[in-house]
Symmetry: C2
Subunit: 261 residues, 2 copies
């Protein structure tokens, strides 16, 4: 009997919290509009491209970090805010890639048992992908989730709603843009070795690249600066460190480099 009451009390408390959350959302954000981010991080030790995911409360499956657009907030700023809250990282490369607007895409939630009533309506979501420095990120769960962490893109858990599709289209979009322009700023730490860069490209494109040719190509576009530093790793020659020449890099990103890789 006692336990039953305790449980009920806790349930009520949880209810109360969710109702408050619902009011907060109601008064601060645009209804029907969400955004979701496919946040990529490159684990250069395990040589894995990872994506940030959240485990939602009341659910067994995972979702992409997302959020809503403040009533007077620019769409892009909303995405930046969400990314900062979730990752703590600054220097985030963000790109909008597609808006998802199937009429029934959030029916699962509308019919589900959340008490955040504000969520119980149809949502259209704007998809962004983001490139962040894996090592700088401290995954941070939000109010609606119970866990937050990196998942290897080749080994994803069960995924809610249409977030699997959003992820796949985000990855495809990243691949395509790598064909047209350099990627890396954001995904790598400020200083990195050439083989880290090559590994990153191989993982994004999902194929091996020839080292010599890669070296010449990357040098030709002069987007890198060689530093007078070296990283000590193993029982062999220490690799040089490089960083992006921001000016040339931005130029290349803006104007594209035709299909390079």
């Amino acid at each position: 009997m006692y336990f039953e009451n305790l449980e009920k009390e806790m349930e009520n408390e949880e209810n109360e919290k969710e109702l408050q959350e619902s009011h907060y959302l109601e008064s601060n954000f645009l209804p029907h509009i969400a955004l979701d981010c496919v946040v990529f991080g490159f684990d250069s030790e395990q040589l894995q491209l990872k994506v940030l995911m959240l485990k939602m409360k009341h659910r067994e499956d995972w979702g992409l970090p997302g959020g809503f657009v403040g009533k007077r907030e620019n769409l892009e700023d909303a995405a930046i805010r969400v990314l900062k809250e979730r990752t703590g990282a600054k220097d985030i490369y963000l790109k909008q890639f597609k808006t998802f607007g199937k009429a029934n895409r959030t029916d699962e939630i509308i019919e589900g048992n959340t008490n955040v009533l504000w969520l119980k309506r149809r949502f259209i979501t704007v998809g962004f992908y983001a490139l962040v420095d894996y090592k700088q990120v401290k995954p941070n769960k939000d109010k609606l989730s119970s866990d937050c962490g990196w998942k290897d893109i080749k080994d994803l858990p069960a995924i809610m709603l249409d977030h699997q599709t959003i992820f796949e289209e985000g990855l495809e979009s990243l691949r395509r843009s790598l064909m047209l322009r350099p990627v890396g700023y954001g995904l790598l730490p400020e200083k990195f070795t050439l083989s880290e860069l090559q590994n990153l490209y191989e993982i994004i494109l999902d194929r091996k690249l020839n080292r010599g040719n890669f070296y010449r190509k990357v040098m030709k576009y002069q987007i890198l600066e060689k530093l007078n530093e070296i990283r000590n790793i193993g029982a062999h020659k220490a690799p040089f460190l490089y960083r992006f020449n921001k000016e040339r890099y931005d130029d290349a990103v803006t104007n594209g480099l035709k299909d390079i890789w």
Copy 2:
């Protein structure tokens, strides 16, 4: 005095209409969400790429054809519906290219003098571009506009809101996609000559292409079917007619052809 009353009456009538329109929108469409279409048509006589524009009531500038998303309507379906209403054309190629979400992008309207109150809120808009057969289209104005017609992309009138930006990004997106895959289905009539196709490509890409090389390239991808028909034009050899082989064309559109042109 009499005229004054007449004017006032007409104003009242107009007011009444707009309020009704506002209620209609309120009960049928999602608030805050719009879509705008950059509709391209190829005028093969004047050799101009044209874009469909509307002149809004109460305004001197022009805008892109747009609309809203029905409460239970898929986003893409809404775009298709708007396009059909505005152009009468079937067989429309539609592609979403970007969502525009600056907080102040519709302030002009919020502060303007429309009585369609539903419009007096912030809107985020999803941009689509569409390719239609210029000759099949009968431009059709909507309730909120006073005129509708084709404009040469090299000679546009004054444009409202951020529709200039939306147009430019739509055109850029069309150009890019032409680099990766064939375009033309939709923009050309069912039957067309090779030089019409080449003209189209030259106008979209804004540069001359070598005829011989163009011929070989287009043939290599086998997306065309030569017909046993000829078009009689002038005092010279009549050109053959071609049409797209829909299967191969769709295949190429889906899988891309790397950078071709």
